[in-house]
C-alpha cells in the first residue's frame, strides 16, 4: 500500500519509492525517509493535505502526491519509533 492510503498512528516500514528521480530520493533520505526506515502518519492538515509524518524524532509535513509514491507496510523494521 502507498503511504497516502496507509493507516494513521501505526508504525510503517518504507518498502520502495515509485517514480521519483535520484535527486528527490536523495533529498528525502536526508530527512530520514528512505527504504527500510520507519514512519508514522500522525495527522493531516485541516484541508486534508499535507500530512504530518513522524520520521525518526522529527515531525515533517509532506504532500499527498508524494505520499502516493511511497510504498509502505505496516510494522516496524526493528528500530521502532518511540
Amino acid at each position: 500500500m502507498n503511504l497516502r492510503n496507509a493507516p494513521y498512528r501505526q508504525v510503517l516500514r518504507v518498502l520502495r519509492f515509485d517514480a521519483l528521480d535520484d535527486a528527490s530520493l536523495f533529498h528525502l533520505a536526508q530527512i530520514g525517509l528512505e527504504v527500510g526506515e520507519d514512519v508514522q502518519k500522525i495527522q493531516c492538515a485541516p484541508l486534508g493535505d499535507p500530512v504530518t509524518l513522524q520520521i525518526g524524532e522529527s515531525l515533517i509535513a509532506l504532500r499527498n502526491e508524494l505520499l502516493e509514491k511511497v510504498q509502505v507496510a505496516v510494522g516496524a523494521s526493528g528500530d521502532s519509533i518511540k
Binding site: 536523495f26 536526508q30 485541516p46 522529527s58 509535513a61
Partner: protein, 670 residues
Amino acid sequence: MNPETSSASAESKEIILAGRPNSGKSTLFNRISNGKQRVANFAGCTVEKKTSPIFSETGNEFLLTDLPGLYSLQPTSQDEEVALSHLKSQKDKSHVVFVLDGNNLKQELTLPLMLKDLGYDLSIAVNMMDEVTANRKMLDLAGMKDVVGVPFFPISARTGDGVDALKKFIFKKNSASSIDCCAGAGDYSQAHTAELFERAKATSKRAMKFQTSEDSENRLLARDLRWDSILMHRAWGPLIFFAVMFLVFQSVFAGVAPLTNLVQMGISFLQDKVNALTFLPQIVVSSLSDGLLAGVGAVLVFVPQIAVLFLMIGFLEYSGYLPRMACMVDRALRPYGLEGKAFIPLLSSVACAVPGIMATRTIENQRSRLLTILISPLMTCSARLPVYTLLISTFVPRSHLGFMSVQGLVMFGMFMLGVVTALLVAMVLHKSGLFSSKQKVDFIYLPHYRRPNWPELFRYVKMRVIVFLKKAGTIIAGMSVLLWVLLSFPKNQSTTETFAAAGDKISQNASLSAEEKTAQQELLDHQLSSQRLQESIGGQLGVMMEPLFRPLGFDWRLTIGIISSLAAREVFVSTLGTVFALGDKSKEDTTTLTAALLNAKNEQGAARYTLATCLSLLVFFAFSLQCISTIGVTRRETNSWKIPAAMFLYMFCLAYVSSFVVYHVASHFL
C-alpha cells in the same frame, strides 16, 4: 557590534557555524559574538551568511560566520546554496563548528560525518542539551567522539551552558595550529555524496548506541502531538488560525492608545518648548517646530503600534506555531501557484517586505518563489501602519461591535484586502503561464513547540523599533526638513502686503465688534497661510501634479504626500504633519493631525476630506509600491531589473484603478 556591518582583518581565521536548519546556529552566534542576529523557531530563519569578529582572552582575532541551514551536500534551495558554497570556498582556511539539535541526533549526525570525510576541520556542538535532559535522554558524547573521530561539545546556546568550553576549544585550536583539514576542493558530485551518505549513516548508527533514554516515550514529541491535535485539528485548527491573525491586528489598536497619547503629548510638549524659544529667529523656530517635530512627531506616535505588531509576530516565530500555519494553508495556496512555505515570507512581509522577500530563499520551487516575491509587497507591512492608523482613527468611528473595536476590524479588513489581492495577483500570474519550473520534492519541517525566549523576543522588538526610529531620524527627518523648505519658500511679499492691508481694514472697521474682528482676523490668517502654502515650491509641485491624482479624490496637499511617500510610506504622514503645521489651519482644533484632517474645510466650507477620500487613500496605499528598499531587494534576489520594474508598474496601475473606482463608488453611496 553589528555583525552585518562588521569586518575582521584579512588574516583572521574563520570559525564557521554550520548545521541543519533550526539547530540553533544563530542563537549560538549571538551567544559567542554578542550579536543581534534574528533567531526564531522555524527552519529558514537565517537565509544569508553573517559574520562578526570575535576575540579570544589572549586577544587573538577570529571571524565568526553564521551560515543558513543545510540539509545535504546537494542543495535544493538558495539558502542551502549560500551555505554550501561558503563552506566549499573556505574549506582550507576555516574551522567548522557543526551545530546539531541534540533532540534529533540520528538524522543530524550524517551531514557532519560527510563533511569530515570530505576533509573539513570539524568539531560538533550538540545543542539544546537543556531539552535533551528534560526529555530524560542521556548522551555519552565521549563514546560518540570515539566512534566519529571529532570532538563533541554539549551546549545549550539558549541558556549559555557549555558555550564557554566550546569557545575555549576553538580559540585554543585555531590559535595554536594551522587548520587541520585536507587540502583540495573535494568531490561533491551526486554519486560521491551518495557514497558518503551511506558511510555516514553506518557511522551514525554506531554512534547512536551511545544515546539512551530513561523513558520509553519521547516527551517533547508527545507534547508536540498533543498541541498539534488541537492547533491543527480539522475544525478547530482553521478557527484558531483566524483567531490568531485577528488578534494580531486587533492588538495593534486595542491597548496601545494610552501609550500613543503619551508620545503625542511628548511631541506637543517639545513643540511648545521650541515655540517658546523667542530668542531664536522665527525661521529657525518654524523649521524645528513645524518641520522637524511636526514631521517626525507625526510618525513617532506609531512606535507603540509598531512594537505591539513585532511582539505578536515575534511570539508566533518563537512558538513553533508558524510552520504549522504554513502547513495548514499549503493546500489552500496551491491553486494560486504558491505553496505552504510561502506563508512564512508573506507573514514576514507583514513586518517588512524586505526580510519577507529574502525569506523566499527557502522555497525550492523557483516559480513559487518568484510569485511569492511579486506578491510580498501587497502584504500590509509596518510602514503602512502609520498611514492606515492615521486614516482609520480619523475617519472611522471609535465604536465597538460587541467586544471588537470597529477601527480594529477595519485594520483587519485592510490586512485581508492585502492578502486577497496578493492571492488574486498570484493566481493571474500563475494561470498566465509566464513562470514555470520543475516540480521538486518539498516538505515543511515542524519544530518542537517552545516557550518564547522573552529576553530574546524583547530584544527583537527593540531592534525593530530602533530600525523604525532610525528611519524616523534619518529619512523621515530629512524629508520633513526638506518639505518644510519646499513648503515655506518662496515667501511672496505682495501676498503678505495684500493680507496685511486686509488685516488693517478689519482692525479699523468700527462697525465690527471685538469678537467679530478676532474671528475675521483668524479667517484671514488661515487664508494667508493657505495662500502661502500654495505659492511655495512644494505647493506648486502639488498643484502641478494634482490633475493626475484628482480623479482619485486627492487634492494637491495629499498629492504632495503621495509623491514624498515614494521614499518611504511613512513619509506620507510626516508630510501631512508638516503641511498642516505650516499652514492651512482652520480655526477648529488642529492640535493633532487627526483633528486637522477632520476639520479641514474646502472653499465652500464643507469638509475637505471625507470617508470616500479616506477609503481611496487606504486602497491606494494598500496596493502601490512606495518602497525603494523593496525594489532594491527584489533586484538583488531576482538578479534582474525587469522583475522590480514590472512589480512597480503592476502595483501602481492596480492602486490607481482601484482607488479611482473606490472613490467614485464611495462618493456616490456614502
